[in-house]
């Protein structure tokens, strides 16, 4: 249960087309991440799947059934919002029970589901508190708990970690991955953070301007980006692009550059020492900015000319249309 299919989805707000002909197939049990720069339509797409917004045209199918005209509540999905959207005037227990009470579920069943979810997320001591008395991480857990008790066919998560500090984000990311493993449910996860996308996803959907740029596993995206946009978006620091005399563009990741004789001559602008590695900002002979992530601690001066080598196997080539060649 929980396979989601999008067929030729369009969505416009007035004259603005936000989603342009998106077709996607999200297999059951997978954790799919929608990633893209802000304004790419990833959150809109999630809201269309949830049923909170209606597509202008196209069909949405869950387990083969057309749910396009079905209300949000009747799609059997649960959503975790960016702001968590916990009801501030209700205790944690009431927050989790609210959705179940509305379906007229017996009290005993509600209580047992809440207890189970609370144990799973280790929030049992917090059940009688109000959201205002919880820390960011605790609120996050409660929001996830509220989704779990509904036993949905799929989870929709809209930038769930973006309000947490960096350290907590790392921990919660690992917990979410573990949770997905344990529940085995379909999850759609929206983020603009490509590290979250890379670490969590079974598959990543890269979106730009309302169009799907590429759908693949994280490593395939990294190793074989379908076009220049995906190549530049996935991977940190960003891939270097160097124009070729034949009109093509060569892409090389900063991690694939190393110091060595007879390579690309690069004038150093700045070097950032991160301890284990050094990020060198520089310029190639024809003035293109270049980033190189070299291992160890290198301390070049501004204006020094370094020679950077790379393996031809690590180079990507993109045609004038931006597509991979």
């Amino acid at each position: 249960m929980g396979a989601i299919e999008l067929e030729n989805i369009h969505k416009s707000f007035g004259a603005v087309d936000v989603i342009k002909d998106v077709s996607l197939n999200i297999p059951e049990g997978e954790l799919t991440v929608f990633v893209g720069p802000s304004g790419c339509g990833k959150s809109t797409l999630l809201r269309l799947i949830s049923g909170l917004d209606q597509p202008t045209s196209g069909r949405i199918l869950i387990d083969g059934q057309d749910v396009t005209r079905r209300s949000a509540a009747d799609r059997g999905l649960a959503m975790v919002f960016q702001s968590y959207a916990l009801y501030p005037h209700m205790s944690v227990r009431q927050n989790m029970a609210f959705g179940l009470e509305n379906t007229r579920m017996p009290r005993a069943e509600i209580a047992s589901r809440i207890e189970e979810a609370a144990r799973l997320l280790e929030i049992d001591p917090l059940l009688d508190r109000r959201p205002g008395q919880l820390s960011g991480g605790q609120r996050q857990r409660v929001a996830i708990g509220r989704a779990i008790v509904r036993e949905p066919t799929a989870f929709l998560l809209d930038e769930p970690l973006s309000n947490l500090d960096a350290e907590l984000r790392g921990t919660m990311r690992a917990e979410l991955a573990a949770l997905h493993g344990r529940l085995g449910k379909t999850m759609i996860y929206v983020t603009h953070d490509q590290i979250e996308a890379m670490t969590l996803a079974d598959r990543i959907v890269v979106l730009r301007g309302g169009v799907v740029e590429q759908v693949d596993t994280p490593l395939n995206l990294f190793n074989a980006p379908a076009n220049r946009f995906v190549a530049g978006f996935i991977g940190a620091p960003k891939m270097n692009f160097l124009p070729r005399p034949d009109g093509r563009t060569m892409g090389i990741r900063p991690q694939h550059l190393r110091l060595g004789e007879g390579g690309l001559p690069v004038t150093v602008d700045m070097a950032e020492n991160l301890g284990a590695e050094t990020l060198i900002h520089g310029r190639s002979e024809d003035g293109h900015t270049l980033l190189a992530m070299v291992p160890g601690q290198v301390t070049p001066e501004r204006g020094d000319v370094l020679s950077l080598q790379y393996d031809e196997a690590d180079a990507h080539y993109f045609g004038e249309d931006g597509l991979r060649q």
Partner: protein
């Protein structure tokens, strides 16, 4: 106080006096006298006897003339300057024209002195005429009027909160064609005073058979543009994601309104409730138009019955006005925090 002094001076550093300090003090003290003076005068006057009220020039404190018992009768006391220049306290036995017969209360058998009334001053003491309060409670239908006032105020406030919050919910959380036009229309009615719509409103209420009915007082007042505006502005601050979450949680639109939006709008509802109580409690013109049977009078109309065509019983009017003010004053004393928040939040009063 100490804070104010410490903040004096041009730069607020507590050094020297600047003309703005003087202006501030004059403004604040003047404002306080202007706002409080009439209320204080009202309360003090409510304890005056009818004679003291009619006195000119008026006194601030309620004075009453002292009396003394002379030969089994209460006689008023005066300080008298006698013909030989001595000053004594004497009781008035009787008065003919401008000459009064005065006698020493300690020696009532003595020959009464004949005194020009210009040569005597009444002996007076501060005395609170509490009968202004007790008598209306006994004779006047105070408790009946109070019950009517409470009924009108409570029912009107409850219905106001319900209807206004529903309108505000729709106007703040739903996108529909003409939403802004509706909002504008509601705000526009703020500019129409009651006196303009009094006659048509009267026709409507009369046609629906609500004349001489407390509901005729309540119903026309429950839809207040101020209330809708105040609640709408507050509801706009409730995040839409909460409503989306509730929709995902199988909540109907009614449940969203009742279980999510209303509890979260409680601070704004409190402000509106306070306003509504004050408005309805103090309403005079509209109840006066609708109610003509005495047993339906609200307090404010009831007070009006003391003002007859020929005789105005000021002492009772003043005393009962003070009593009628008490609930509103209590509301202000205990809930002023909410009131200022409401005024600041809407720019309305």
């Amino acid at each position: 106080m100490r804070w104010l002094v410490a903040k004096r001076g041009r730069t607020g550093d507590g050094r020297g006096w600047h003309w703005t300090d003087i202006a501030t003090w004059v403004w604040l003290i003047g404002g306080t006298i202007l706002m409080f003076g009439p209320a204080v005068w009202l309360v003090l006057s409510s304890f005056k006897t009818p004679a003291a009220l009619a006195e000119f020039p008026p006194t601030l404190l309620p004075f009453a003339q002292q009396t003394v018992e002379v030969e089994g009768e209460q006689k008023p006391l005066y300080t008298v300057t006698l013909a030989d220049g001595t000053v004594r306290t004497m009781a008035e036995l009787r008065r003919v024209g401008i000459v009064a017969q005065m006698v020493d209360p300690d020696d009532p058998g003595a020959e009464p002195a004949r005194v020009n009334i210009a040569d005597r001053d009444p002996v007076r003491e501060v005395d609170f005429a509490t009968e202004n309060y007790t008598e209306p409670f006994m004779r006047f239908d105070f408790f009946l009027f109070l019950r009517n006032s409470v009924f009108v105020t409570v029912m009107a406030t409850i219905i106001t909160l319900l209807t206004n919050s529903m309108a505000a919910f729709a106007l703040s959380k739903y996108e529909f064609r003409g939403r802004n036009a509706v909002m504008l229309l509601i705000i526009a009615t703020l500019m129409v005073p009651l006196s303009v719509i009094l006659v048509p409103l009267y026709s409507v209420v009369a046609a629906t058979g609500l004349m001489n009915n407390l509901w005729g007082v309540i119903l026309p007042t429950v839809a207040t543009p101020t209330g809708v505006f105040l609640l709408r502005q507050y509801m706009l601050t409730i995040p839409d994601e909460l409503l989306d979450a509730a929709r995902m949680d199988h909540a109907s639109e009614w449940q969203i309104y009742w279980r999510i939006v209303l509890p979260l709008a409680a601070p704004a509802l409190a402000v509106l409730a306070i306003f509504s109580v004050v408005w309805r409690w103090n309403d005079f013109l509209w109840p006066l138009v609708v109610l003509s049977r005495k047993e339906l009078y609200t307090l404010q109309i009831g007070l009006n019955t003391y003002a007859g065509e020929l005789n105005v019983q000021w002492h009772y009017i003043l005393a009962m006005t003070v009593v009628a003010m008490i609930p509103v004053v209590l509301v202000f004393v205990f809930l002023q925090r909410f009131i200022t928040a409401g005024i600041a939040g809407t720019g309305l009063k």
